[in-house]
């Protein structure tokens, strides 16, 4: 398993170190603190808006997922505000890049 192969299937996976009790991000097979092997799990995909801007008519948003990891994704509906709660509704790979769609809720 790796991040991209699962992402292609629409699964947003993260790696966690059981020893350090922390998410290792970007995903990696080893913990960046103790070098222990990490464990894969599916992310809840729930987070909040840290920052946002707009390209053409589409919002892109820097979001913090699970109070821990920050990613940039796209928001199709609504106008984001800093602190808004979001969740990942779709993810995949688009022309070799991670593609994440988020919705405000």
């Amino acid at each position: 398993m790796n991040f991209n192969s699962e992402l292609k299937k629409g699964n947003f996976m993260i790696t966690e170190c059981d020893r350090c009790k922390k998410i290792v991000w970007p995903s990696s097979i080893f913990c960046n603190q103790c070098f222990n092997e990490t464990r894969w799990r599916k992310s809840s995909g729930v987070g909040k808006v840290i920052e946002f801007s707009k390209k053409d008519d589409k919002w892109f948003c820097l979001a913090e997922i699970e109070d821990s990891i920050k990613i940039i994704g796209q928001i199709d509906f609504g106008t984001p505000k800093v602190g808004d709660k979001i969740h990942i509704v779709k993810c995949g790979v688009n022309i070799g890049n991670m593609h994440v769609k988020m919705e405000i809720f």
Partner: protein
């Protein structure tokens, strides 16, 4: 600690020309030799090449093309601060006693692969630098009530200053309206807020205390170095309205040089995008948080060119691997009083700020006569 002097330099004109990377390296090296009449190929102990170009073995190739047979030769890549990373490496080789004279040549082509960091998948399809710049701009504007018009002044100032720089990318004069009416790349960034990728080269010669007199009567000393890399991924920044790596690099550089912000007479800052200049001024300690634009406006009002006299990256162009070296050369020329129309009034101490990948890495150098 042993001292290291900058004793020579060479530059190419920055352009959009399609020139082989080897020849870009060669052009500034040739200019360096032309500017250094006492320098012979056999004097050079180490050749370091700074570039993001994918070609291999470029330091050996440049050495071969220049008739140099160095003891140490290799390339150094660190995206946009490759240039100052190379200077720090050259400095270290001299301080270690391994060598006395180091040639450092930086070069990039307009189509450099270093403009996008493939590793940074956390940005998804928003990998282009305009997206981190948009996040920085949005965050900075909101937190400090800075406007798009305020940030546009950085671009106007640096384009104006670059008109006095014969090596800058050619351009027309730029007004505030030009910036505000330029193409909207995102809601928070316009085309003229951005530095432009280009083809360019810059070379510099570092010397030990033992040999510097062979090449110059007016050495410029590297008195302070600070470097910090916080991560490789833009989204790992903890704040988006300041540059943490720059803060830490500046603290180290000032400590090492035993100088403070008050001692700096002239500086080249890494204004890859207009927001970067006020943010860098704050993170370097020249202005308090949110007050960087006040300092920029003061400079404009006083018609001073103490900040980015060569036009910074926005005015001059940004050939990644050459940028940090070209910034350093500008400060050296200022301290030598050889900056011609760009000369600021009698500077004794200068600073270089060079950073990479959304401020995940920064280098700060303090230079003195």
């Amino acid at each position: 600690m042993p001292k290291v002097a900058i004793v020579g330099y060479g530059l190419t004109k920055f352009s959009k020309e399609d020139i082989e990377i080897e020849n870009v390296l060669m052009n500034s090296t040739r200019d360096l030799f032309k500017n250094s009449p006492n320098l012979q190929q056999k004097d050079i102990d180490a050749v370091l090449v700074s570039t993001n170009n994918n070609s291999k073995y470029l330091s050996a190739i440049l050495s071969e093309m220049s008739g140099i047979q160095p003891r140490i030769a290799h390339s150094i890549e660190s995206l946009c601060n490759s240039g100052t990373n190379s200077i720090v490496s050259g400095y270290s080789y001299i301080c270690s006693g391994l060598v006395d004279l180091v040639l450092i040549s930086g070069a990039e082509r307009y189509d450099s692969p270093g403009q996008v960091l493939e590793w940074d998948q956390l940005r998804g399809e928003f990998k282009h630098p305009i997206f981190w710049a948009s996040i920085f701009s949005k965050s900075y504007k909101r937190k400090y009530s800075v406007t798009e018009e305020d940030l546009a002044l950085v671009s106007v100032k640096n384009h104006k200053q670059s008109k006095k720089n014969p090596n800058a990318l050619p351009q027309k004069s730029i007004s505030l309206e030009d910036v505000l009416n330029s193409k909207k790349l995102t809601a928070d960034l316009r085309l003229l807020d951005c530095s432009r990728p280009c083809t360019g080269g810059a070379s510099i010669l570092l010397a030990s205390e033992k040999v510097y007199k062979n090449f110059t009567d007016v050495p410029v000393w590297i008195s302070g170095i600070g470097q910090k890399t916080t991560s490789a991924s833009f989204t790992k920044n903890l704040m988006f309205d300041e540059m943490e790596s720059t803060k830490q690099a500046a603290t180290r550089a000032f400590h090492m040089s035993k100088r403070s912000q008050n001692d700096i007479d002239v500086m080249e800052l890494h204004d890859a995008f207009s927001v970067c200049e006020p943010m860098a001024l704050e993170s370097l300690g020249f202005a308090s948080a949110g007050k960087g634009m006040e300092l920029v406006k003061e400079e404009i009002l006083c018609q001073s060119s103490k900040i980015n006299p060569r036009g910074g990256l926005i005015g001059t162009g940004h050939p990644l691997g050459a940028t940090g070296i070209a910034q350093t050369i500008e400060i050296v020329q200022q301290l030598e009083h050889k900056a011609e129309k760009r000369q600021v009034d009698n500077p004794l101490t200068g600073l270089v700020h060079n950073m990479s990948a959304g401020a995940t890495s920064s280098t700060v150098l303090v230079l003195e006569r």
